[in-house]
């Protein structure tokens, strides 16, 4: 630790910081357009100057190191003047359009000008209005507003790992140009709108919806990305107008993937917002009482063995637990996950999760990817992987990775060779002290899944992927919905959907399941509890409208095996209700009331069902359950998880669909 004085106030900071970093650490930052003092290139914007007592001239606070005993002045008249003039130079070509720019009110450049008391650039400089480049509907680019801080270039090059932004020309003609066909290909491109300190990158999904001073900003978590990142949702006029990342626990700016940022509009359309029952083949709007009574009577009538429940991609843990309890009370053992891309059983333990903590990815020194596409299936983890120069190899369908990665082919023979140590990459993994293995959800779908995991277990043991103090095994791509169902033990050993199709059930209770068709239900009486007027809802006999993840206090299980809860950002639409409460009410009509009356009660129940809901994330982190041999590896090549998103909100999101369409059109 060193002691220094900043504008007469003593402070103590760690050694090795630049003056700018020291000022930040001491809570007395320099006024500056760049968001992250230590991370940016030394003073490209030329604002971070300070004066140091006893030394002539001014000093660049970013490149000059803080030393013990330094007396720093951040704000002398000379410095004020210098900064003012430097910003005026920055404004020299900046279009004077704050009044029509969507960044107004939350623009760092604007804030700096305000702080410095500037109202114009250099006198007499006239600039044209900014034009827009074609970068897609969601991340819009206005090069005219760019002040060439180069943050976006650094982000795309270093974090997102694409070459979609580059500089054109030289000197005063310098511009940032996009190399984009249709839309940015990186699933992290939405972060450009947060990174840009001016209005050069703006969020197209919230364009013209409202002004930043009109919104109410609420903090919650996202569930569309199974990492469950913390987010801010801005609400105005009764709708969610924008999603941005919340800062990380250590205060650094967060980052979210495009599905988190843009997918939320999937909750805005095609909602069921009131109860319905089907009468004479047609839907009739009804009261909650009538709907619940109808559902309850059918459930009471039916034989427990001919009653089944399926949970879908938008179901939350509270309601899934309540549903499971209700089925128990009825006497039926028929509960299962509905239509998901891959079924992940509870007994798979930590094979289901990402076990390497975010901050530990930097420690890893070798990586093997099996049947996964980390850039698209786990964008946030992929950014950390990309930042680590360790040797990497990919076994599976060839996908463009945004880092150098040895391609091992897609044959299952390669897995055998790796497990037995014969493969050259095996020695790379063995030599590593902290090897990582990233596997994709495509593995669960394989007919030889058991054999694959057995081989993976062999591999993990022989490479030391799991050992004391380190678990490098990560399963990516499994949705939060499936992880929740799995953790609550609702993924049956033998799938029940085929039986439903055959007509084995008379009553089906569907919770958050929107992927079934009439044919799948086999003529049963369908009770649909969910949020969308989907095909599934359309074949139901009773519709019980539930709340979306943005409208309730609900818990989800994330890809690292830890549970997190949302906070409601909006009220549920119309007469829709929080899901677990619907089941609680239904249980009353069944005359077998569930034993929890409030959130604490249902959450206690969750805690009883699984340690994931009460334990700390460290519990069991270094374990990986042994897999006993069962069958052999088939010839099936390792593939990716293919088209289609498990999460119904994402499937319905107009923004994500338009993005997908554009990317498909342009990348063939």
């Amino acid at each position: 630790m060193i002691k220094l004085t900043i504008d007469g106030v003593e402070a103590e900071v760690s050694e090795g910081l630049s003056i700018a970093g020291a000022c930040e650490a001491a809570g007395r930052p320099l006024p500056n357009v760049c968001r992250r003092a230590e991370e940016t290139l030394p003073g490209v914007l030329r604002l971070s100057f300070v004066e140091i007592r006893g030394r002539d001239g001014v000093f660049d606070a970013r490149t000059e190191k803080a030393a013990d005993g330094m007396e720093i002045a951040r704000d002398t008249p000379r410095l004020k003047k210098m900064r003012e003039r430097a910003v005026r130079l920055m404004l020299a070509k900046h279009p004077p359009e704050c009044s029509v720019c969507e960044k107004a009110g939350e623009c760092l450049l604007q804030d700096v000008c305000f702080e410095l008391g500037l109202s114009s650039g250099d006198e007499g400089v006239v600039t044209p209005l900014a034009e827009t480049e074609e970068t897609g509907p969601l991340v819009r680019m206005h090069p005219g507003r760019c002040i060439l801080c180069m943050e976006c270039l650094r982000f795309m090059r270093d974090v997102a790992g694409t070459s979609e932004l580059a500089l054109s020309g030289k000197g005063a003609e310098t511009r940032i140009v996009p190399f984009v066909s249709g839309a940015f290909s990186s699933p992290l491109s939405g972060n450009l709108t947060d990174i840009c300190p001016a209005g050069a990158f703006t969020d197209g999904s919230s364009k013209f919806l409202t002004r930043p001073w009109n919104v109410e900003r609420k903090k919650t978590i996202d569930v569309l990305d199974s990492f469950l990142p913390p987010v801010f949702m801005d609400v105005a006029d009764g709708r969610i107008v924008r999603v941005t990342p919340a800062p990380l626990p250590d205060g650094r700016a967060g980052m979210i993937s495009d599905r988190t940022r843009f997918g939320v509009d999937g909750t805005a359309f095609g909602r069921v917002d009131r109860p319905y029952i089907r009468v004479d083949g047609r839907f009739r709007e009804c009261s909650w009482t009538e709907a619940l009574m109808t559902a309850a009577s059918k459930l009471k009538e039916a034989e427990p063995s001919r009653t089944a429940a399926f949970v879908g991609s938008t179901a939350d843990c509270e309601s899934m637990a309540a549903l499971a309890d209700m089925m128990k009370i009825i006497g039926s053992a028929n509960v299962d996950a509905g239509r998901f891309y891959a079924r992940v059983p509870k007994r798979a333990g930590r094979w289901r999760f990402c076990n390497t903590a975010a901050e530990d990815v930097a420690k890893a020194d070798a990586l093997l990817i099996v049947g996964a596409d980390p850039e698209r299936e786990a964008s946030l983890m992929n950014a950390a992987i990309r930042g680590n120069p360790m040797p990497k190899a990919l076994l599976g369908a060839r996908a463009e990775q945004n880092y150098a990665c040895e391609y091992l082919g897609d044959s299952s023979d390669v897995l055998n060779e790796l497990a037995s140590g014969r493969h050259p990459f095996a020695s790379v993994m063995k030599r590593a002290r902290f090897p990582m293995l990233v596997a994709g959800k495509s593995l669960w779908r394989r007919s030889d899944a058991r054999a694959v995991f057995e081989k993976l277990y062999e591999t993990c043991v022989s490479f030391g992927v799991v050992k004391d103090g380190w678990n490098g095994f990560n399963m990516v791509g499994v949705s939060a919905g499936m992880l929740g169902a799995s953790e609550l033990g609702l993924v049956a050993e033998t799938p029940l959907l085929p039986k439903a199709e055959e007509g084995a059930y008379d009553v089906l209770y569907l919770l958050g399941e929107d992927r079934l068709t009439r044919a799948d239900t086999g003529g049963a009486f369908v009770i649909y509890q969910g949020t969308f007027a989907s095909e599934t809802a359309m074949c139901a006999d009773v519709i019980l409208p539930g709340a979306a993840y943005t409208e309730k206090r609900a818990t989800y299980v994330g890809s690292n095996g830890t549970a997190k809860s949302t906070a409601p950002v909006l009220p549920p639409p119309g007469q829709a209700r929080e899901d677990w409460k619907i089941l609680r009410a239904l249980s009353e009509y069944l005359e077998k009331t569930l034993p929890y009356d409030d959130l604490d009660g249902i959450r206690d129940r969750l805690g009883a069902l699984s340690a994931a809901f009460v334990g700390s994330p460290e519990d069991g982190r270094t374990l990986l359950e042994p897999v006993s041999k069962e069958g052999n590896l088939s010839d099936e090549p390792f593939s990716l998880s293919g088209e289609g998103d498990d999460n119904e909100v994402c499937r319905r999101s107009p923004s994500l669909r338009s993005l997908k369409k554009i990317r498909k059109e342009n990348n063939g």
Binding site: S163, E164, L165, A166, L167, S168, G169, K170, F179
Partner: protein, 165 residues
């Protein structure tokens, strides 16, 4: 597949260039590769950038960035006779403007243009590094100094005659 391919000889030269730099640093040969492409085609075309991107494993946009930054590279073909005039102060003091204007009049183009028949093109550079031989110009990369309007035109005529053969 790019529409551009290096000649056998140039490909060998490029590979030798790459070997001048440490392992994994093929990107350092980017400007060298562009010079070779320019020798072949009279400019560094988008197709050439694609080919270079393949060979060096450098993203296309990064090469595009270099081409657009450096004064040395054109993206459209120069004329058969390409002239670079100097607008530095020493050449300026030795009446380089007069030499330039006489040449441009003779070539019937302005700086930054290529004549429609593809024979002549002209550009201005900030300094050719020949200040004590001012006024100077480059014709197809060769330096000529201590020019007068007449001597400069004579040089152009010579190149013109050679280009006609």
């Amino acid at each position: 597949m790019s529409a551009f391919a290096f000649t056998e000889e140039n490909r060998k030269k490029l590979e030798a260039l790459i070997r001048r730099y440490p392992e994994g640093r093929a990107a350092s040969a980017a400007t060298g590769a562009m010079y070779l492409a320019a020798e072949q085609e009279g400019c560094v075309s988008d197709a050439a950038l694609e080919a270079i991107s393949e060979i060096l494993s450098v993203p296309y946009s990064r090469l595009w960035e270099l081409r657009s930054f450096y004064g040395a590279f054109r993206d459209k073909p120069a004329g058969k006779v390409h002239v670079s005039f100097c607008r530095g102060i020493c050449c300026g003091m030795k009446k380089a403007d007069g030499v330039r204007d006489a040449c441009l009049a003779y070539m019937n183009i302005r700086t930054g243009e290529t004549r429609a028949d593809g024979l002549f093109s002209a550009e201005e550079k900030d300094c050719l590094g020949a200040c004590s031989d001012a006024p100077a110009m480059l014709v197809n990369g060769t330096l000529y100094g201590r020019l007068t309007p007449e001597s400069a035109k004579e040089i152009l005529k010579k190149y013109e005659a050679e280009a006609a053969c």
